[in-house]
Structure formats: structure tokens, C-alpha cells
Amino acid sequence: MSEFLRSYLTVAIFGATGCLLVGAFVGLSALVRPTRPQAQKYLTYESGVDPVGTGWSQSNIRYYVFALLFVMFDVEAVFIFPWATRLEAYGYFGLVEMAIFIFILALGLFYAWRKGVLRWV
């Protein structure tokens, strides 16, 4: 087996240990804990509020715009945070690059705004 493939052994050992630990703790607590089933205990946990309806309810199609715009800012954040921690190392080149990147993303938001998707109709 090559050295490269052998290093996957570490991954396998980690995985096996994880499974074993979880199994041991859950099994142990199942042995020692008291069992008193109640209907409320089986409800879906939803931020502490009583759940309403089923899990397959429909949500308003208008929310998809928010999802799309969220992706735009999310991707922006993914790139900006690592960049910000190393700004000195990149110098002016990095600053200009990020300015161009944000500018192009801002054009996307501008397009969405002019298209009227930000208005709740």
C-alpha cells in the first residue's frame, strides 16, 4: 500500500473511534436512565415553539428571491473573511482585486433591484 493511501488509515481509525464513542455513551445512558414516555417528548423541536402543521408544508414562492440574494452575500462573505485576515500580505493588489469582486457582485444586486425583485408584491 502506498504512503498516500496509508494516511487514509488515520481517517478510518478516527471514524471508527467516533462511532464507538457515540455508541458507548448512547448505549450506557439507555441502560441507566428511567423511561417515562410522554406525547410532548416526541414532538419535533422547533426553537422551543410548538410546531405547526407538517414538515412538508408549502412556503411562499416569493422567498426564493431572498434565497438567491442570500447566496450572493454568502459567497461574498466566504471570500472576504479569509481575505481580510491576510490583507497586509496581499497589499494593494489584493485590495483592488477584492474591490473588483465586490463591484461585480454589487452589479448583481443592482440588477435585481432594477428588476424590482426587492419589492414585496
Partner: protein, 518 residues
């Protein structure tokens, strides 16, 4: 903050040099697309509707013109007067500018111009007019340029995604047709899967060679003998699946008929020309140029893929009754001929693939232009009986379609003949006689398909050819000017290079790919 930036940092990350001249066509095309989006958002109430297609055509022409000085530079040999001549790379050796990439840049520029002219009338007719189609097409074509120029597997993947994501949206563009939605969804799900497979192939190749840069990978493969190359070969296989999906090679072709049938017809023209060309550009760059020293490992696989693609593409096409599905299978069989050229793994084979791609791009855009016009509003009447008697009701379209079908069948005096002739002779020169024979037999089978469409438009349709209706049809439906320009250009290209192919094949021979360091 500016003080921080002005200080010379102790651990500065070196930033790569940028040869802006080499990036010019790409910047014009992608910048043009972003600019169009901005202009239209800013002044959407003042923009006349002819502005967007004209703008797109101009950007396409500008991209092609910007590529000409690059072409002259990279195909020249370095001399005392011009030491910078010859292929070069920029952005830390990740973006190569050579004859190959500039050839594809010009091809994509031509496709953008032609499809913009064709789409102009189509979008208005289907009442889905807007700048989005043009913007997405320009962005997609710039992704194709990135793929054809990539000197790094990550950049190749970036190009593949820029190319594909825009086309997924374009396939679903006809928002009132359920088939278009279905086509977009299918293409997206399968395309995303193939991108993931491709990315996995990059990861395995990186694991085996220690680099994603094509120059370094080639150095590594020609200098190091791997005792265990299982990882590398698995990487090859997954990369080939990724490319095979985009070029619609059997067995990764199953999306093609449904997507071609459902997607808006001009988009199909773009898919069949630009997307296929970009995927073959990537395939040649990665397999022939980079993995060339391992060709005994990948050649047999492409041999098998080519035979399967040729046979399935030619035989299944016979039983179809929908013209767009027929052309989808025909595009699969064309992918088979292109694989024959790739399989040869010689400089001549690469040149024949380039010639074939250029000839096919013009023929297929022409064919889909005729189908766009002939099927009329709704984009749904694409069965063979719907276009029966086309040559009598609309003779111009009938004659143009006949030229394109003869060209795709490989009849002499069309560019399609030389395209097929060159790839098959390249295969024979590389001693792949079996493959050459299968390719010739497949051409005979495929000719039946094209003859069937020609029979339908010339001989069938007597029952609809009521004389008064005929006269009304002849007088009533003019060919829109944009589509007319496309037809003139594509018919001209097919016939001129069918009679006199030397300039084109010489250009393809000059467009040899090179892996430069820069």
C-alpha cells in the same frame, strides 16, 4: 489602513504578473456582458429593443478582432526583432495563450455573433425578450475561452462552470414552455453531477502528481515513473467522464435528446456549437497535451467511446420522428467523429478536430436557424410532419437546410466532407484502421437520417400544399433580417470551405496547442 498596505509586509504573498494583452478578448467578452447588464438595469426605459442584439454582435466582433493580433503573435516564431512571439502563459502559468486557445476564442466570438442575430427575432416571437439571454450567452462563451486557455486544472474547472451554469439557465429560458423547464432541470442535475465527477478527477490527479498545473503535471509524468499509477488512472477516468458528458459521448449522452428537444432552438444551436467546442478544447488540452506520455492508457478508452458514440448516434437517430431529437442524435454522432480525431493523439489529429469543430459549428447553427424559422411560434411543432413540404412553402429555408444536412452527412463540396475526411485520415495515419472503418460505416448510416429529413421537406406534404395556401405562405412569412444574415454566412462558410478548405485547415494546423511557462 493605507499605512498597513504601504508597509512592506514581512510575509508578502507574491502576486502574479498579468499579461493584459493576452487576456484582451476574454476581458472584452466578459466585461461586455457585465456592462450590458448594467446599462440595461440603469436605463431600461430608454433602451430601444434593437440595442441589445446589436450591442452583443458588436462585442462578439470586438472579441474576434482583439484575437487577431494575438493570433499573429502566437503563431509566429520568436525572432531578434520580436522576441515575444510564440505561445506564452500568464497569471502564474495558469492561463495559456497559444494558437489553440486563440483559434477557439475566434470560434466562440463567431458563435456569439451568429446566435445573437438568430435569437433577436426568436426572443421577440416567443415574447421572452430581454437582455438576459445575450448576457448569459456572452458569459458562457467567455467560460469557453477560459477552458480553451486553461493551463491549470482548477482554471479549467472554473471555465467549465462559467460555461455550464449560464447554459443551464438558457435551456430553461422559455419560461412558459414546460418542456423548456424540464430540459433546464435535467441538464442542470446531470451537469452538476458530471462537474462533481470532473472535480473528483482533478483531486485524484492532484493526489497522484502533486500539482494542478498542466505544465507541472506534464513535467512530472514525463520525468517520474509511477510504480503504482492506479490513482492517476482513476483521475484520468473521472476527468474523461466530465468531458464526455459535455461533448455528449455515449454512454454519457442520455441528456442530449431531451435537452435538445425541450430547450429554446437558438440555445440548442449554441449548445451544439460552443459547448461542444469548449469541452473538446478542454479534452485536447488535458489529455493530448498534458497526459500525452500516458496515451497508451487513455487512447483505448477514447477508441471505445468513439465507436459507441458513432454507432449509437447513427443508429438511434434513424427511429426518431422529431427533427430536434434527430439533430440531437446527429450531434452525438458528430461527437464520435471528433473523438476519432482526439484518439489519433497526433498534432494532425488535433488540427482535424479544430477544423471539424469550426465546420460543424457553422452547419449546426445554420440548421437550427432554419428549424427556428420553420417551426413557427410556440417552438413546439418540431416533428417531421410539421416541416413536411418546407422546400415548397418556403424554398429559401428548404434549400439552406438541404445544404446543412448534406454538409452534416459529409457530401463532397461541403465543409462537412473535408471535416470527416480529415479526421478519418488522421485516424488511419495513427494506425487506428478499425476505428476509421467504423467511422466510415457510421457515416453511411447517418446519411440515411439526413436523407429522411430532406425527403420530408422536398417530397412529403402534398396534402398541405393547397395552391392558395402555398402562395400565401410564400408571400406571408419573410425571413427576419438577423436570421437571413446567419443563413447567408453559414451557407457561405459551408460551401466555400467545402470547395477550398486549405485556408481553414492551414489555420487549424497553425493552431497547435502549447504548454508555455510564464
Amino acid at each position: 489602513m493605507l499605512n498597513i498596505l504601504a508597509q512592506p509586509p514581512t510575509d508578502a504573498i507574491p502576486t502574479p504578473d498579468v499579461a493584459w494583452s493576452g487576456l484582451m478578448p476574454l476581458l472584452i467578452l466578459s466585461g461586455g456582458a457585465v456592462l450590458l447588464l448594467t446599462i440595461v438595469s440603469l436605463a431600461k426605459d430608454f433602451i430601444p429593443r434593437w440595442f441589445t442584439p446589436i450591442y452583443t454582435v458588436l462585442i462578439g466582433i470586438a472579441t474576434g478582432v482583439a484575437a487577431i493580433p494575438l493570433w499573429l503573435r502566437v503563431t509566429d516564431t520568436p525572432s531578434a526583432a520580436d522576441p515575444n512571439n510564440g505561445p506564452f502563459a500568464t497569471l502564474d502559468s495558469s492561463f495559456g495563450v497559444d494558437g489553440f486557445s486563440v483559434f477557439f476564442t475566434m470560434l466562440f466570438a463567431a458563435v456569439v455573433v451568429l446566435v445573437a442575430l438568430l435569437a433577436n427575432d426568436y426572443l421577440r416571437r416567443e415574447d421572452i425578450d430581454g437582455p438576459e439571454f445575450y448576457v448569459l450567452m456572452m458569459l458562457s462563451a467567455s467560460g469557453g475561452i477560459v477552458m480553451a486557455s486553461a493551463n491549470d486544472l482548477i482554471v479549467m474547472f472554473l471555465g467549465l462552470e462559467i460555461l455550464s451554469i449560464a447554459v443551464y439557465v438558457m435551456a430553461a429560458m422559455h419560461s412558459r414552455r414546460i418542456e423548456s423547464q424540464e430540459a433546464g432541470m435535467k441538464y442542470f442535475v446531470l451537469g452538476a453531477l458530471s462537474s462533481a465527477v470532473f472535480l473528483y478527477g482533478i483531486a485524484l490527479t492532484y493526489g497522484a502528481t502533486g500539482s494542478t498545473n498542466l505544465v507541472e503535471i506534464r513535467e512530472f509524468l514525463s520525468n517520474v515513473i509511477l510504480l503504482n499509477d492506479a490513482l492517476l488512472l482513476a483521475g484520468f477516468a473521472l476527468l474523461l467522464v466530465g468531458f464526455g458528458f459535455k461533448v455528449a459521448a455515449v454512454p454519457f449522452h442520455s441528456w442530449t435528446p431531451d435537452v435538445y428537444q425541450g430547450a429554446p432552438t437558438p440555445v440548442v444551436g449554441f449548445m451544439a456549437s460552443a459547448v461542444k467546442a469548449a469541452a473538446f478544447a478542454g479534452m485536447l488540452r488535458v489529455f493530448w497535451l498534458t497526459f500525452g506520455s500516458y496515451r497508451t492508457d487513455w487512447q483505448p478508452v477514447i477508441y471505445g467511446l468513439a465507436i459507441a458514440t458513432l454507432l449509437v448516434g447513427s443508429f438511434v437517430a434513424i427511429v426518431q420522428t422529431d427533427v430536434k431529437r434527430m439533430l440531437a442524435y446527429s450531434s452525438i454522432s458528430h461527437a464520435g467523429y471528433l473523438l476519432v480525431g482526439v484518439q489519433a493523439a497526433t498534432n494532425e489529429g488535433t488540427a482535424t478536430v479544430l477544423f471539424y469543430l469550426a465546420a460543424y459549428a457553422f452547419m449546426v447553427i445554420g440548421s437550427f436557424t432554419v428549424i427556428t424559422l420553420a417551426t413557427g411560434p410556440g417552438d413546439a411543432k418540431t416533428s417531421l410532419t410539421d416541416i413536411a413540404g418546407l422546400a415548397r412553402t418556403r424554398p429559401v429555408l428548404g434549400i439552406a437546410l438541404t445544404v446543412f444536412l448534406l454538409g452534416q452527412a459529409g457530401v463532397p463540396f461541403t465543409s462537412g466532407f473535408f471535416a470527416k475526411f480529415y479526421v478519418i485520415s488522421a485516424a488511419a495515419d495513427a494506425n487506428s484502421y478499425g476505428l476509421a472503418i467504423v467511422a466510415m460505416l457510421a457515416a453511411v448510416v447517418a446519411a440515411f437520417l439526413y436523407l429522411r429529413i430532406m425527403m420530408a421537406i422536398w417530397l412529403d406534404g402534398d396534402e398541405v400544399a393547397d395552391p392558395t395556401e402555398l402562395a400565401a405562405a410564400k408571400a406571408g412569412i419573410p425571413v427576419p433580417w438577423g436570421a437571413a444574415v446567419v443563413l447567408v454566412v453559414t451557407v457561405g462558410f459551408t460551401l466555400v470551405f467545402g470547395l477550398w478548405p486549405e485556408p481553414m485547415i492551414e489555420m487549424a494546423r497553425d493552431a497547435v496547442p502549447a504548454l508555455a511557462i510564464g
